[in-house]
Structure formats: C-alpha cells, structure tokens
C-alpha cells in the first residue's frame, strides 16, 4: 500500500463517513427528543435518491402518491377531530396544509417537465416530495403512542421500516439507479485524484452539521428541541409541545436522510433497499456516541467510514464483519463505563 492508495482510500472513507455522520446525527436527534430508534431513517436516503432519479428521468415519482395518501389520511383524522371540537379554523388549516399543499405540488409536477429543470430545482422538488413524509409518519405512527416504552417504539419503527421498504419496491422497482453527477470536476492533490462529487459530499456535510449546530444553539425551536431532549416533562411544563418537538425532529431527520441520499446517488447505485444498510452504519456511529452525544456520534460514524474503506482494501470478504464487530467492544466499554439505569 503506497501513499496514493492510502490517500484514495482515505478520501473514499471520509466521503462515506460524512454521510454516515449525518445519519448518525439524525438518529441521535430523533432518539433524544422522542426516544424513537428511527430505523426507517435509511428509507429516506433511498426515497430521496430515487425520487430525484425519477424526476431526472421525466417520470412522476411514486413518493408523490405516498405524500398525497398520507396527507389525506391525516387531514381526515385531524379534520374530524377538529370538527368534533368545533375548531373550524383549525380544521381549515389542517386541510390546507395536508391536502392542498401536496395537491399544489402534484399540480406543479404535472404542469412542468421536471427533467429539463436545472439541478438545484430538481433537488428542491425531490426534497419537497420526501421531507414532509417524515412529520406525516410521526403523526400517524408515533404520535398516538408517544408515551409508550422504548421497546414499543422500536417495534413500531421496525414495522414502519418494513412498510416503507415494500412501498419503495412498489414505486421504484427492484433495480437500482444513479443520478447525474453534480459536477465532473476533479482536482489532483499530490499523487491522488480528488473527485469533485466526493469533495461536495464532505463540504455539504460539514455545512449541514454547522447549520444544525447553529439551529440548536441560536434559534428558539432548536432550544425547544434541546429542552425536550433533556427533560420531556420539564419542557412541557415550560409550554413546549411534545408533539411539535416530535414533528420537528422527524422533519429534520427526513431532511438529513433525503439530502444524504441525493448527495451520494451520483457516486453509487441506489436500490429501494440500499438505505437500510447505510442507515445501519450511521447507527453504529450513533451507538459509539451512546445515542446521546452528537460530536462523538459524528466522529464514530467517520471512523466507521474509514474502517470500511481500509478493510475493503485489506480483507474485502470480511468488510461488513469488521465494521459491525466494532459495535461489540464499544458496547462493552460503554456498559463498563456508564452506570446503567433501568427505564420506567
């Protein structure tokens, strides 16, 4: 292994690690705020990437139907509740948010040929299609059982994951796809060739992480989320709605997931079920951070990316084994180091 190979492997590891880090942050965020271990995180990666693929191919993405269906379902449930409580204005608001907005989006997609739009607009459309699914899933699957135990929430997560994966197969088919690269630029750094797309992934990830930092440190909503994560009851007593915090954290998680998918889709072939494994590696990072610490989770995820890259060079047949075995010493170390508290 010479310097050039080491550099190229490092570049590859950092690129993947940056994506894992984003997902790890989203997992920690969702867990801290709602106690949900968000297994469907990976599905948002696949949905984001494949929705963009459909848009670029000039096809109507299947996620649109899911958006319309979930929106209608929520509008029916919440609308009925609002009517029963005679909150007509609230009912109107619900219908316009959950039904009219998705319909407007659908109308836009029908009216304009998405395939000819510039890339940033396509990415924006894909995000608008996928991100609302996050809070909608929270509303339908998690909000009614928000006070349940972690185990129940985990079981619901598995159910949501399997359902979304099946829906993904229905919408996008069994075969994988790639999107067009954002840039064909490549730089030479010493002996190694740096690809523009890889640099873009790392830079965007760093920017997103910084944006998240400012969101949590400087904005009232970010502070509300942090307060909920620290003490749910205390936050509620201070007037922070648990539902709002849940919706917000799921929106963020969906945004991060879908955007990660869009970032990596030019580098690799994405399948309807690719997201799960990518999410799982983010999860290993999140575990290293104890599902609580953001910086440690991000560092852990980058470690996973690097480990994966170098082990694929040295022992490609055992790559997955090496990556997932990492979790055992980490769990051992954590269980020895931290005092265990039984929930409930």
């Amino acid at each position: 292994m010479d310097m050039q190979i080491a550099l190229l492997l490092g570049q590859d590891g950092l690129t993947n690690g940056a994506i894992y880090a984003l997902l790890a942050l989203a997992l920690v965020l969702v867990f801290a705020v709602t106690r949900v271990i968000f297994i469907p995180q990976g599905e948002f990666v696949a949905f984001g990437a494949l929705t963009l693929v459909s848009l670029q191919a000039g096809k109507l993405p299947g996620t649109l139907w899911l958006l319309l269906a979930l929106g209608t379902l929520i509008a029916l449930i919440d609308g009925a509740l609002a009517l029963r409580n005679r909150q007509f204005r609230r009912g109107l608001w619900i219908v316009s948010v959950y039904c009219v907005l998705p319909l407007l989006l659908a109308g836009t997609l029908f009216a304009i040929p998405a395939a000819t739009l510039p890339l940033p607009l396509q990415v924006g459309l894909a995000l608008m299609l996928v991100v609302p699914l996050g809070p909608m899933i929270y509303r339908l699957a998690y909000q009614p059982i928000a006070e349940a135990s972690v185990l129940v929430l985990l079981i619901v997560s598995v159910a949501v994951h399997v359902t979304l994966m099946g829906i993904g197969l229905l919408f996008f088919g069994a075969e994988g796809s790639r999107t067009l690269p954002f840039s064909d630029v490549s730089f030479s750094l010493g002996d190694a060739l740096l690809q523009g797309q890889a640099v873009l992934v790392v830079v965007t990830s760093v920017l997103l992480i910084m944006a998240l930092y400012f969101f949590f440190e400087r904005t009232i909503y970010g502070k509300a989320l942090r307060a909920t994560a620290m003490n749910r009851t205390g936050a509620r007593l201070m007037g922070i709605s648990g539902t709002l915090a849940g919706m917000l954290s799921f929106t963020l998680a969906a945004t991060i997931g879908a955007f990660s998918g869009i970032l990596i889709s030019p580098i690799t072939t994405i399948y309807y079920d690719s997201g799960f494994l990518i999410g799982l590696k983010g999860f290993v990072g999140a575990i290293i951070g104890g599902l609580a610490s953001y910086p440690v989770a991000a560092a852990g995820a980058i470690l996973v990316g690097l480990l994966e890259s170098y082990s694929s060079f040295w022992a490609s047949a055992f790559k997955e084994v090496i990556v997932f075995t990492l979790i055992i010493p980490v769990l051992l170390w954590r269980s020895l180091k931290t005092h265990h508290v039984e929930e409930e």
């Binding site: 993947n16 069994a174 075969e175 580098i267 690799t268 072939t269 694929s312 060079f313 490609s316």
Partner: protein, 384 residues
C-alpha cells in the same frame, strides 16, 4: 335407521364422482422470486409464465404461481403448500440457487419432479436418490467459466483479477473460474469480494489496479455487478473487462452506461437471437419467445432469465405426452412417468440451447448453450 346408510352411500358416490373426473388437469406449481433481492430475475420469469401454452397434448395445464420473495424459508413453504394443497404434478422454481437447494428435500420426499431456474451446479450434482427428482434449465457456472477462459486465452490474457459477490454466487464463480484458469495457465493476481448492497468498492478497485492484471472478471449478478466496473473505469483501468451471465439484463446496461462498453460476457443464445446464423436451430425457437415476450412487455424488455421459465415449460411440453401414457395427472404414477420422461429428453431445442438429458446429467446442455457477447453502444453484440 334404515335410510341412513343409503344417504351416506349416495353422498360417497357423489363425492367420488366429483373428486375423480375422467380427465384431470395437470397442475404445475411455480415458486419464483418476484420480490426481494432476486426480483430482477424473478419478474421476467413470472411474466413469461403468463405467455406459455395452457394446453399440452389436449390436456389443460394449470399454473399456480407463488412468490417466495427471494427467501429460502418461503420457497420451502411454497413448495410444501403447492404439493399438499394444490396437489401439483411438478414444481418449477425457484429463481435462486439457495432456494432451489432448500427445496430438494421437499420434492424428493413427495416424489414430485422439480425444474429449477437457478444456475448453481450443486442443484443437480452430485446425483443421488433425492436429486433424481430435480432438473435445472440454466447453464452451469462451469460451462460459462470455460467460455470466459477460452476467450481469455484467445486474447492473450496472462494475468487476471477476480472481484465477486461475497455470497454463494461470487464464491461459486470463484471456485469454477480459478480451477479452469489454473489448468489453462492463466495467473490470478487478485481475488476480491464485495456485497451487492455496498455503496463503494474503491478499496477493492485500488487493490486490483495495484496488481496490474490484463483482465478483470466481475462475478456478480444484476445491477450491483456494475459497481466494481464503474469504480475501475473511474480509477483509470484500461484492461479487458469480463462479466458473468448473471449480469445479462437491460437494467445492468442502463445502470452501467458507457462504462460498460467493450465488456465481454458469456450468456445463453436467446439474448442475441436475431444475430445468430440462420443455420442455428436455436434461432427459430429463441426468436419465437423473444417476439412473444416483447409483444407483451415492450421492446427490449427480454432477458435471459425469463427464457429459463420458457425452457422449463418446453421441457414439460415435451415430457407430458409421454407421462400421460403412464397414468392420470394427480397420481404418483404420472409424477414418476413425468420424471422419467424429462430424464429421457433427447435433442430438444429450446431458447438457451439443446437438451440431451441422462440419468447422470439433469441439465444436458453442450457448447451450443453458450455464446460470448460484447456490450457495444448499450446493446449486445454476438462475438463470433
């Protein structure tokens, strides 16, 4: 008390009359992987089974098609269900080698012949009392590997690197290929693995580049097989690329794009049916299938996998008239007769080759069952 026996007797007669019609239909049970990781293979197989003839020798054929979701346990469950509930006379399936291997015990126990659409040699070898009931239609890996090694020696390839799936498919190809390459004095300089679900194979690609092989063989199936090829091209690899027949479908071409131009792969003749010489008897049979399939599912939709399902039913079409002489459908005699008739298949031209089966060889293909093709401008070109 006197009338009761007569009513019971009447009922018995009625049931007997309903249960045993003079000419029972032939029930064919099918389990395919129409969903899950092998779906790109299973879907064309399932599609093909909607186009096959429903009467053979004046006998109505019922196809009962189940999906096993590329899952071994489900494949076995489907097989048991088809045999116990649907009383099938023969099983077609499954799509993948692991599924087919798991089904062997079930069909042998029920004495029901089975025709597998998976490639693994171990489905029919070594021949024993259980595998006596099992046949398969796709070419074996060994046949395809021989074709690749032959092409390599003809093109002065001295060193070769192998990168394959980290599963039974990649391992099977490695075993066959390394054995034959060694005999032909081709040196293997790298042996790497990757997972179909991997998002990056940079490490493997770099290791292969460092070994500087004349050619690289990718042992993968479906679109994931495009990943190492794209990574190698991106890192500037200039040698000859080989793929296996598992990658021979339109989706692979779509995902791999121009990075796959100039790639060689062995496959069944059906994929390049129109380019076959007119003297080849396979051409007529293969074209008939291609035209039928593309009329139903669109131009360019045909793949080698759907043709396996077609070949399986052609095998049945040839054997059922013989088996009918032995017994009625639904009886053990018929199933035994069907097994014997399939085993005695001689000179049956199908879309993938010519079957000449024997008690020792339950595939019965020779060199006519494989051609080398080259990917050229997003299509398949027959290499003469």
């Amino acid at each position: 008390m006197k009338r009761e026996p007569s009513i019971a007797w009447l009922l018995t007669m009625l049931t007997a009359a309903l249960a045993a019609p003079v000419h029972a239909d032939v029930n064919v049970g099918v389990t395919v992987s129409a969903t899950g990781p092998a779906a790109s293979l299973g879907i064309p197989e399932k599609n093909t089974l909607t186009l096959v003839p429903t009467t053979i020798a004046g006998q109505k054929i019922n196809y009962i098609i189940l999906d096993d979701a590329s899952d071994t346990t489900t494949a076995v469950k489907n097989t048991r269900k088809l045999i116990a509930e649907n009383k099938v006379d023969v099983i077609i399936g499954s799509t993948t080698t692991p599924n087919s291997l798991a089904m062997i015990d079930v069909v042998a126990e029920a004495q029901t012949p089975m025709i597998s659409m998976a490639a693994g040699t171990r489905i029919i070898e070594p021949m024993d009392a259980k595998r006596a009931w099992v046949f398969k239609v796709p070419q074996s890996d060994a046949q395809m590997a021989t074709a690749i090694v032959e092409h390599m020696t003809n093109n002065n390839v001295r060193t070769v690197a192998y990168v394959g799936f980290a599963n039974a498919y990649g391992e099977g190809w490695w075993n066959e290929f390394s054995k034959i390459a060694e005999v032909r004095k081709i040196q293997i300089v790298a042996n790497e693995r990757f997972n179909p679900t991997d998002t990056s194979v940079t490490g493997q690609a770099l290791k292969i580049l460092a070994a500087k092989p004349d050619a690289v063989l990718v042992g993968g199936s479906g679109t994931p097989a495009a990943l190492p090829q794209k990574a190698l091209k991106e890192k500037g690899y200039k040698g000859i690329m080989y793929q296996t027949h598992g990658a021979a479908n339109a989706d692979f071409l779509r995902v791999c794009g121009k990075d796959c131009d100039g790639t060689f792969m062995p496959t069944g003749p059906v994929l390049v049916a129109a380019q076959l010489p007119n003297s080849n008897p396979i051409k007529k049979v293969a074209l008939e299938y291609v035209n039928k399939y593309e009329a139903a599912y669109g131009k360019g939709s045909v793949s080698a996998f759907g043709a396996y399902a077609w070949d399986a039913t052609m095998l049945l079409g040839n054997a059922i008239p013989e088996a009918l002489k032995k017994g009625q459908p639904g009886t053990p005699e018929f199933r035994k007769g069907l097994r014997d008739a399939i085993e005695n298949t001689k000179n049956l031209t199908v879309t993938h080759g010519v079957f000449n089966m024997s008690p020792q060889d339950h595939l019965g293909f020779d060199q006519r069952a494989r051609v080398m093709v080259k990917i050229d401008g997003g299509g398949w070109k027959l290499v003469q």
